[in-house]
Symmetry: C2
Subunit: 385 residues, 2 copies
Amino acid sequence: MREGLLDEMEPQQVADIAGQLETDDAVALIEDLDREEQQAVLQRMEPDDRAAVEEALSYPEDSAGRLMQRDLCSVPEHWKVGQVIDYLRSTPELPTDFWEVFVVDTSHHPVGTCKLSTILRTPRDTAVADVMVREQTLIPVDMDQEDVALRFQKYALVSAAVIDDSGRLVGMITVDDVVHIIQEEAGEDVLLLSGAGGEDINEPVPLTIRRRLFWLVINLGTAILAASVVSLFQGEIGRYAVLAVLMPIVAGMGGNAGTQTLAVAVRALATNQLTESNTIRAFGRELTIALANGVSLGLLIGAGVALVFGVIHPTPDGFRLGAVIGAAMVINNLAAGVGGILVPVTLERLRIDPAVSSAVFVTTITDVTGFFSFLGLASLAGLGR
Amino acid sequence: MREGLLDEMEPQQVADIAGQLETDDAVALIEDLDREEQQAVLQRMEPDDRAAVEEALSYPEDSAGRLMQRDLCSVPEHWKVGQVIDYLRSTPELPTDFWEVFVVDTSHHPVGTCKLSTILRTPRDTAVADVMVREQTLIPVDMDQEDVALRFQKYALVSAAVIDDSGRLVGMITVDDVVHIIQEEAGEDVLLLSGAGGEDINEPVPLTIRRRLFWLVINLGTAILAASVVSLFQGEIGRYAVLAVLMPIVAGMGGNAGTQTLAVAVRALATNQLTESNTIRAFGRELTIALANGVSLGLLIGAGVALVFGVIHPTPDGFRLGAVIGAAMVINNLAAGVGGILVPVTLERLRIDPAVSSAVFVTTITDVTGFFSFLGLASLAGLGR
C-alpha cells in the first residue's frame, strides 16, 4: 500500500514528508524506491536531513545503521544533573521522543546512560557520572537487525547507543523501531520452514505463485528421488501389495518426527539458545528422544500390524510384517532425529539461514530412509518373494 | 533453572527477593509455585507488596493484570508541568523505571499521557493538559497478553495504562515486559505447527518425549487412515506396481502446498491480518494460487511420467498414467489450498488455537485426497486392470 501511494506522489511531496520524520523512518520510506526516484527525493530534501538519510543508506540493508536515528541527546560526563536539565530545556533541536540520555567522554565514546526518570528525580548538583548506568549494551553500526532485536529483548532495553568502528556514538535505536523486527523475525521461521518465505496475505498473487512454485518444484525433485527408492522394490510390491499400503506410514511418521526436531532446532538457533558450545548436548538429547519415541511407535505399529495381518486376517507373513514395520519405524525415527538437528546446525555453520532450506533436506532424508528401510527389510525378510 | 533454585530456597528468602522486585516480576516469580508455597511466601512479604501481588494473582494467567505493575506515576490533569516536576523530585516511593506520566481526572480515569522528554522540555508554567497526548492505548486489565503485545507493536508503545472494568487506572505495562511475549508468541507458531508446542531445548527430556509422542500418535492415526485408502486399491497396485511408486509424489506434494498455505494463514491470523472481513478474499486468493501451481506441477509431472513410461521405457499405459498423475496433482493442490485456509480459519472461529492442530487436519486431507484421487483415477482409467 505504501509503495502504491509513493508511486502516485511527486518527489517534492515525498521529500517534504521524509523531512518531517526521524531518520530511521525517513530511511524506511525511501529505501524501497528505485535508485532514480531516491535521488529525485533526496535532492529535494533539506541538506541536513538529506545528509542523515544518505549516511543511513550507506549502511547495509537490515543493519543497525539503517535502523538508528542520528538525532539523540548526549551529554559530557563531567556535567551535573542540573546542567543536563537546563540543556534539555534550552536546546530546541533535540529529538521529540527519547527515553535516555547518553553520557560520552571527550572523544565522544559512550560511557554510560541515564534514564530520564533518573534525571528528573536526582538533585541538580549531583554529577551525571554518579547516577548514570555504566553497564550498557552498545550496538555496532553494522550489526544485523536480527541481532539488534535479540539484544533489546535479552537486556530489556528501551533505547541503545549505536557506535561506529572506532567506538564513537553515531546514533541511537529505540525499542519502537525494534519491536516489529522481533515479531517479523520470529514469525518468519514458520513461513520459511513451510516454503512460503517472506510472504504475507497482501502480497501480489503472481509473486506468491512464483515464490511457492519455486519451493514446490524443488520438493517435486526430492519426491521423485524418494519414489525412485520405491521403484527398486516394484517386484516385491507387485507380489505383496500390502507393502505399498504400509510404506507411507513409515515415511510419513519419520517426516513428522523430523519436523518436530527441526522446528525446535530452528527456534533455538534463532534465539541463540543453540550454540557451538551445546550442539553435542542438543544432539544427544534429540537422539534420546528419537530412540524413545521410535521404540514406542515401532512397538505400537508393529503390534497393530501383527494383530491385523497375523490374527484378524491371518496371512503367513503377518508377524514378520509387524516386525519389519516396527524396526523400520525405529530406524526412520532415528534418521529424523539426527537429520532434524544436524541439517539446521550444518546450514547455520555454512551461514545459510536454516529456516529456509532445512525442511526439504529433512523430509528427503525421512522419505528415503523410510521407504528404503521398510521395503529393504521386507525384502530381506522374504516378504513378497 | 529458576524453579530449581526456588525449590532450594526458604519462603522467607523468596519473600525478601519478591519484595525488591516490581509487581509484575514478583508475580512472575511466585505464580509458578504451588498453592501452599505461594501462601508461605506471601505471608512473609510486606503488607503493601503482598496486597499488590495477591491482587495481580487474582487476574487470569497470561492477562494484562499479571503483566502490569501497580507502581506508576499519575498526576491530576489540572497540574502545571512545574508541579509534576516537583512531585517527581519529592516523592521517593515512585517506581525507579518509568517513561511516561499518566494524567488522570478526578475519578482516576486516564485522560492522557505525557512523555518524560516532554515534561523535561516544557516550561514549568504550562498546563500538563496542554502538552499531554490525549490519544492513548488503554489496556483492559483482563486482556490476553498476546493482544497486549499486538497493541504495543501496532502503536509502537513504550508504556501503557491498564484500566479496570470501570475505566479507572490500576497499573501500567512497560515494553520490556512485552518484548519477550512478542517473541514467544510469534516463535511459538512454528513449534505448535510442527507438533513440538511450547518446547525449548532446556526442557526435561521425559517431558519432551511425552509431548512429542502425543502428537506422533495422533499422526499415526491419520497415517493409518491414509493407508486404508491405499488398501482399497491393492488389486490395482498388485497388477501395476508403478502406481505404488508414484502415489507418494501426489500425496507429498499436496502436503507441501497445504503446509505453505497453512503457515501463511496461521501467521496472518496471529497478527490480526486475516479477520472475518477478508476471509473470503483470502480464500479466493489461495484458490487462485492452488489452481495455478496445481496446473504447473500437474503438467510438469504429467509430462515427465508420460515421457518416462510412454517414450523412454514404452509401456501401453504410459500416456494414460501421465494424464492420471497430472489430474490428481491438480485435484490435490486444490484440496491443499482449500484445507490450508479453511482448517485454521474454522479452528479460530471455534476459539481453538489454529497453530496447535491445523497441520494434522491439513496433511490428513492432502494424504487422503492424494491417494484417493491418484489411485481412483488410475482405476477409472483402467490402469492395473
